[in-house]
Amino acid sequence: MVKVSLRNITKRFGKVVAADHITLDIQDGEFFTFLGPSGCGKTTTLRLIAGLEVPDEGRVYFDDVDVTDWPSYRRGVGMVFQNYALWPHMTVFDNVAYGLKIRKVPQSEIKSKVKEVLELVRLEGLENRYPHQLSGGQQQRVALARALVVEPKLLLLDEPLSNLDAKLRIEMREELKELQKRLGITTIYVTHDQEEAMVLSDRIAIMNNGRVEQVGTPQEVYRRPSNLFVATFIGRTSVLEGVVTAIGDFVEVKISDIKVKGVAINEVSVGDKVYVVLRPHDFSTRKEEEEVNIFEGVVEWMAFTGGLLEARIGISGGKILVTLDDEVPASMGKKLRVFVPWRNVIILKA
């Protein structure tokens, strides 16, 4: 197992900066995810770690050894590609056995190791099939088995679940997590699906335009997003603009005629313009003692989704999205009063 360090890693394709001075450490045994919108440079970063791309600047370290100039085949990583990249002219067995053959493992040992890893990914009995004779989920597991069988120090997974249907995706996601914990292998995962990232990861790096915007646990990036991009990318949000009026244990912000208390992520001072980030799930209709964090407005749109009520409320400083108990008496065009606890209100410097 291995600890991976990136120092100032930069990669440009012409004018596009696919990786922009990325510096971070991935701990031994950690399940680490790069999360971001399409084209933000996740795959590129993964490929830089695998040695499939050469960085323009910066260094890559495995356990403090500089591997930047090592070719891919020396790095000992296992990688699963977005398209699985199974070799169409080889059977499942040959696909999985390839890495062992390269390592000149004796024939009998190859047999037993392939058998073992196929059991691990629950593909026993499919050894002699060709890739085109497998379902998407099975192909994905062959790709995983092929990467795992050589007992890599580091497992790199590029959107391995994105080609599967929703149900299978959730199943495979659980299997993957369980497998990773069992093997204890350092794993770097790439996805644009925030839910997947939240469920799987020990820590997440949120990427945008080649830059890493924030690194943190799922809890941290959700509750304490370091900027507006992260705040709006993770989870659903309503964003209001306001001005800081007081600072204490909490920060007080005025949004047109509403007073809001919240937690500031960055340094702010009185008079600063700020964004107030609100999560729909944090709202309730419970009455509160204090005269803050109360929003009142007309319901402009509403819908019932599985036991919950979703509504958009027009308030004086903008619009907010709320998710409430579906027992709440609300109707279109009528006024509704909602409340949000101050610890859940995120305040970001504008």
């Binding site: 070719p71 085949y73 296992g78 990688m79 977005q82 990249a85 050589v150």
Partner: protein, 609 residues
């Protein structure tokens, strides 16, 4: 300025495999293509040891080479009961250009019409026409013109006999020969090249383009002129240019006409001039005049090639040859249309297939000696292919050279296209051009270049063509027919996603290993398909075979043997045996195309042959 990151990129690309492939490709192409041509250029511009335009001045001031005023010849002249259509002599250079321009225009007209009909209309028998229209592409070197001559002979020619003597439709006998004969034979042989290229353009064209224009009110000729023609321009430009180049370098038609009638005008083109001078080269030298002519030839050809380069590079070719992304827009042909289309195709195919039909008749009957029409069937000439020691030797020489050339072309083609497809090394675009360029370099120029370069720098060695031309023929074939293999392999490589190799390298495979374990098995069909085409077109290669091959009789390949028979410089056999050899070439070609089409499921890589 080369940036540091670019250097790193290059350094990463330069693993041992790529480095070897890169160096090997350039080494081979420089040694067997660029340096020989450079030697010609050097000799053409050298006079008394200094750079000079002397030889070009000499050539252009000699009316034998270049004359704006006519120097004889007959063009639609009536003498007695015969109309002579021979062409007017303006010296070697202008003659070649006039013939090539005529052939290009007429082949383009025929090719475009045929392609438009096939691409846009449906009618019964279309698929039969589609196949028959390609018959002229079957190789009948030298014998084709011989047969055309035999058809047009004023006395005893089949056409004149039928239309003048029997049916009395023609007011006079017609004698098509000389430059006009060459132009006719070449038009009939080369129009399929335009046809195929234009057809490919039309097939890959998005049909909504035309629909859009129609919905805006454009129809009929306007639609054709404003939308269809401009969009098929890439195919037309490529096809027409290749026809121009082929006509310039063609030896088969002129030698065929010289062979059967001794017509003096058939001699008066640049390719024959070079060829004749080459015959004198056995004594050891090629004159600088010939080099100057070769430089002129190569200038025209390469200029043409550069003009169409962007349509014929590997990269474009790979996208074009996929084709059929759209369902082509076709329309049922009405009765009036059919009344035009059927006669057009039947007449075209019949007249264009005259050489092939004639070859079959010559090979299987006594037509060569029976006069007007064949009298009996005989397998005597076919059996000579297996019994006559000279013929057997020519066949085995051809098989040996072509086989070896395929091997080299496959190695070279795989190496170079892999470098182009996968590495970011500087010079890959130039390599792409070099791989496609042999299409444009006249074979006769290659022959002159090889002679000058290898007799000059490798005198007395095994590479000296005066010692033994066999090796040089193999290298010449491999370079001249390289584009077939290169294109096919490149198309294959584009179908192999890079991640298939990358995943192997993450598993510990070097590029060398992944190339052989992953890439080669996946492109095997393309390699074989390209190799087959290279083989076929090596077997029927003319220009270097009849020049370099002539330097040592026992090393001559099939086409050299045929030329000997037709040209009549040596009494080595009869034209019927030559026809039997053509039949052999045709058979090989048909089998090979069938294999690559139906077994390997490849669209025939005819495009821009």
């Amino acid at each position: 300025m080369i940036s540091k990151s670019r250097l790193r990129e290059v350094k990463k690309s330069l693993d041992p495999l790529i480095a070897f492939q890169y160096i090997f490709s350039y080494f081979y192409l420089i040694l067997f293509l660029l340096l020989p041509i450079a030697t010609i250029i050097r000799q053409a511009f050298l006079y008394n040891g200094a750079f000079s335009l002397h030889w070009f001045q000499k050539v252009f001031s000699d009316p034998d080479f270049f004359s704006l005023s006519p120097r004889g010849g007959m063009f639609f002249e009536l003498h007695g009961d015969t109309m002579y259509i021979w062409g007017i002599d303006h010296g070697y250079i202008l003659n070649s250009l006039i013939v090539a321009a005529t052939v290009t225009i007429s082949a383009s007209i025929i090719g475009v019409i045929a392609a438009l009909i096939i691409a846009r209309y449906d009618f019964p028998g279309k698929n039969v026409f589609r196949i028959l229209i390609l018959i002229p592409m079957l190789a009948t070197p030298f014998v084709n013109a011989y047969v055309i001559g035999k058809f047009f002979q004023p006395r005893g020619g089949l056409l004149n006999f039928i239309f003048y003597d029997v049916l009395h439709i023609l007011p006079w006998r017609i004698d098509v020969n000389g430059l006009a004969g060459i132009a006719l034979a070449q038009t009939l042989a080369f129009y399929p090249i335009v046809y195929l290229n234009v057809l490919a353009s039309l097939m890959t064209m998005d049909p909504t383009m035309e629909e859009q224009a129609e919905s805006l009110g454009a129809g009929g000729f306007k639609l054709f002129r404003t939308i269809t023609l401009p969009l098929s321009m890439p195919g037309l430009a490529a096809g027409a240019t290749i026809v121009f180049i082929f006509s310039l370098e063609d030896l088969g038609a002129p030698i065929g006409f010289i062979g059967y009638s001794g017509n003096p005008l058939a001699r008066r083109v640049m390719s024959v001039y070079v060829f004749d001078d080459f015959a004198a080269a056995v004594t050891g030298a090629i004159s600088p005049i010939t080099s100057a002519i070769a430089v002129i030839l190569v200038t025209f050809a390469v200029t043409g090639f550069l003009a169409i380069k962007k349509y014929v590079t590997l990269k474009t070719y790979a996208t074009l040859s996929k084709g059929g992304r759209w369902k082509p827009r076709t329309r049922k042909l009405g009765f009036k249309g059919m009344a035009l289309v059927y006669p057009f195709f039947i007449l075209l195919i019949l007249s264009a297939s005259i050489p092939q039909i004639g070859v079959v008749i010559l090979a299987l009957t006594d037509w060569a000696i029976s006069g007007l029409a064949p009298k009996s069937i005989t397998f005597e000439y076919i059996s000579r292919l297996f019994t006559d020691p000279n013929v057997v030797r020519a066949i085995s020489n051809s098989l040996l050279y072509s086989g070896a050339a395929v091997l080299l072309a496959v190695i070279l083609g795989s190496c170079s296209t892999y470098v182009i497809a996968r590495s970011k090394l500087p010079g890959t675009d130039a390599l792409d051009s070099l791989l496609t360029m042999p299409i444009a370099v006249p074979g006769i120029v290659v022959a002159v270049g090889y002679f000058l370069f290898f007799t000059g720098f490798f005198r007395g060695t095994i590479l000296d063509p005066l010692v033994d031309p066999a090796l040089l023929l193999i290298f010449a074939y491999s370079v001249r027919r390289l584009p077939f293999t290169a294109r096919s392999v490149f198309a294959g490589l584009q179908g192999v996603h890079e991640s298939l190799e990358e995943v192997a390298t993450t598993l510990g495979a070097t590029r060398f290993k992944s190339f052989f374990d992953i890439v080669i098995p996946l492109i095997a069909a393309n390699v074989i398909g390209g190799g087959i085409l290279t083989f076929v077109y090596s077997m029927s290669e003319v220009s270097t075979s009849v020049t370099l091959g002539a330097l040592r009789e026992d090393r001559g390949p099939i086409t050299f043997y045929i030329s000997q028979v037709i040209y009549g410089t040596a009494a080595v056999g009869t034209v019927s045996v030559a026809a039997a050899l053509c039949l052999l070439l045709i058979t090989v070609q048909v089998i090979a195309l069938a294999v690559s089409n139906y077994i390997l499921k490849q669209r025939v890589a005819f495009l821009g042959i």
